[in-house]
């Protein structure tokens, strides 16, 4: 990483994804997507449930494989990546958090370093560092996920995704299940964190307010198609009817910082 790399971190080239139900072609969840995610930006995928946001995300870490087109991560098609290597350089945070219930906080956060065969001391040090980074008391490292609040669990989820310092972070409605106050808190912390870490982030949400707050660009999706990409400044005046509908639906609050 000595020279600045100007190539996009992630690039979708005419990517479609169609379900395959027992050998038969099923519904097309994503249609002919072309999209570039630049290094260090936070690209928000905004849309309703079923619009293809999560599908787009899962294509990036190859939990799903494109049925048409090609997807490049670091200028290399995901098909050609060793899928395990690819996933370990991409942090993944999901709404249900997916913390391992039988692992302590420490083991959950240290999971990727551990399977990457880091030395135990280095893992322990990294876990302490990360707990601090996401604003958690290092005291909780010996607790189990069920002993944490929703906000704490989500913070642990973020810490786990950051553990091996991956250049790319995928976040699938990470704050969706939290109460409004905790959500606002975590959004603020995310912004502060992102200012320091400069990860390439792809962030899925259906909340326009969250999209405007966190995104450097907002990609609006509907029915498996990308309708438009706008900056948060342009979005409220965008001519796209669905974008206008979103702005109207959130109209009363869009003036908030």
């Amino acid at each position: 990483m000595s020279h600045p790399d100007t190539r996009p971190a992630i690039e979708f080239r005419n990517v479609s994804y169609r379900l395959n139900v027992q050998g038969k072609e099923g519904r097309e969840l994503l249609h002919d997507l072309n999209l570039e995610v630049q290094r260090g930006e936070t690209l928000v995928l905004l849309g309703r449930s079923g619009s293809g946001k999560t599908t787009t995300l899962k294509l990036i870490n190859h939990l799903l494989a494109p049925t048409k087109g090609e997807l490049l991560v670091d200028a290399r098609p995901t098909r050609e990546w060793d899928v395990i290597r690819l996933r370990r350089m991409i942090g993944y945070v999901i709404q249900e958090v997916g913390l391992f219930p039988h692992f302590t906080v420490e083991r959950n956060i240290g999971l990727v370093p551990k399977i990457e065969n880091w030395h135990a001391d280095r893992i322990a040090k990294r876990v302490r560092e990360l707990l601090q980074l996401v604003g958690l008391d290092p005291e909780i490292s010996s607790r189990y996920p069920r002993e944490l609040s929703g906000g704490q669990r989500q913070r642990v989820g973020v810490a786990r995704a950051l553990a091996a310092d991956p250049p790319i972070l995928l976040m699938d409605e990470p704050f969706g299940a939290l109460d409004p106050i905790t959500r606002a808190e975590l959004q603020r912390e995310f912004l502060a964190l992102q200012k320091r870490l400069r990860k390439t982030v792809v962030f899925v949400t259906h909340d326009l307010r969250e999209a405007l707050l966190l995104g450097t660009r907002i990609a609006l999706m509907e029915d498996g198609r990308l309708l438009t990409i706008q900056t948060p400044e342009e979005f409220p005046t965008c001519a796209e009817p669905l974008a206008a509908a979103y702005t109207n639906a959130f109209g009363a609050i869009s003036e908030d910082p």
Partner: protein, 210 residues
């Protein structure tokens, strides 16, 4: 002569038959575990095998036990000794709860947890041994428990083909029309089943993720 006197008088024989019974149940359950759990794991990985494997185990379960002993009689090596025959038959019966519980246990692991693990770059083996099996362990042990308790009961029938065990007393008592002799076989067998049920139940609770 009452039951206790009978059992005291024949305590060496009671002990011998109990140990024989334990041996039949223990070895057959162990065999079934060694085959059933890997088969259960296999059908979570190859869904196409799901129906034939579970179907096959189901069919075995529907064969009456005496008939199964009869079927296996002509088998080489196995048919040569009654205890081999009994152990194989008992193991076959124990297969269904083991395969099914392993399958259901693994399939029942929270999808988000498995997906998170896969998304973070865990290999299939790491997912299986660090996530799926530990989280399914309670359900798998429940299968072992059911299999063991069924085995303890079924093993009494092994005496019919001369494989020994507590069934000896039950069949002898039936032939003599002597309830005391029947009970001398039935009571230790029932106690063994209860003990297996309670201890494996305890283990199941301990190993279930809270």
């Amino acid at each position: 002569m009452n039951l206790w006197q009978f059992m005291l008088q024949n305590h060496t024989e009671v002990l011998e038959l109990t140990l024989e019974h334990l041996w039949l149940v223990g070895i057959s359950t162990l065999l079934a575990v060694l085959v059933g759990i890997p088969l259960g794991i296999l059908i979570t990985r190859w869904p196409a095998l799901n129906k034939p494997v579970l179907g096959g185990a189901n069919i075995i379960q529907t064969i009456p036990s005496l008939a199964l002993f009869g079927f296996l009689l002509p088998a080489p090596w196995i048919g040569a000794r009654a205890d081999r025959l009994a152990i194989l038959a008992l193991a076959l019966y124990a297969l269904l709860p083991l395969i099914r519980n392993t399958y259901v246990g693994i399939k029942g692991v929270d999808r988000a947890v498995v997906e998170a693990g896969r998304g973070m770059g865990m290999t299939g083996r790491q997912l299986l041994f660090q996530v799926e099996l530990p989280l399914a362990l309670g359900v798998i042990i429940a299968g072992v428990r059911v299999a063991t308790v069924i085995s303890v009961g079924l093993a009494t029938i092994a005496a019919a083909i001369g494989a020994g065990g507590l069934g000896e007393y039950i069949f002898r008592g039936l032939a003599m029309v002597n309830n005391q002799v029947i009970l001398a076989g039935a009571i230790p067998a029932a106690a063994m089943a209860l003990l297996a049920d309670v201890s494996l139940g305890w283990l199941e609770k301990r190993l279930s993720p809270r």
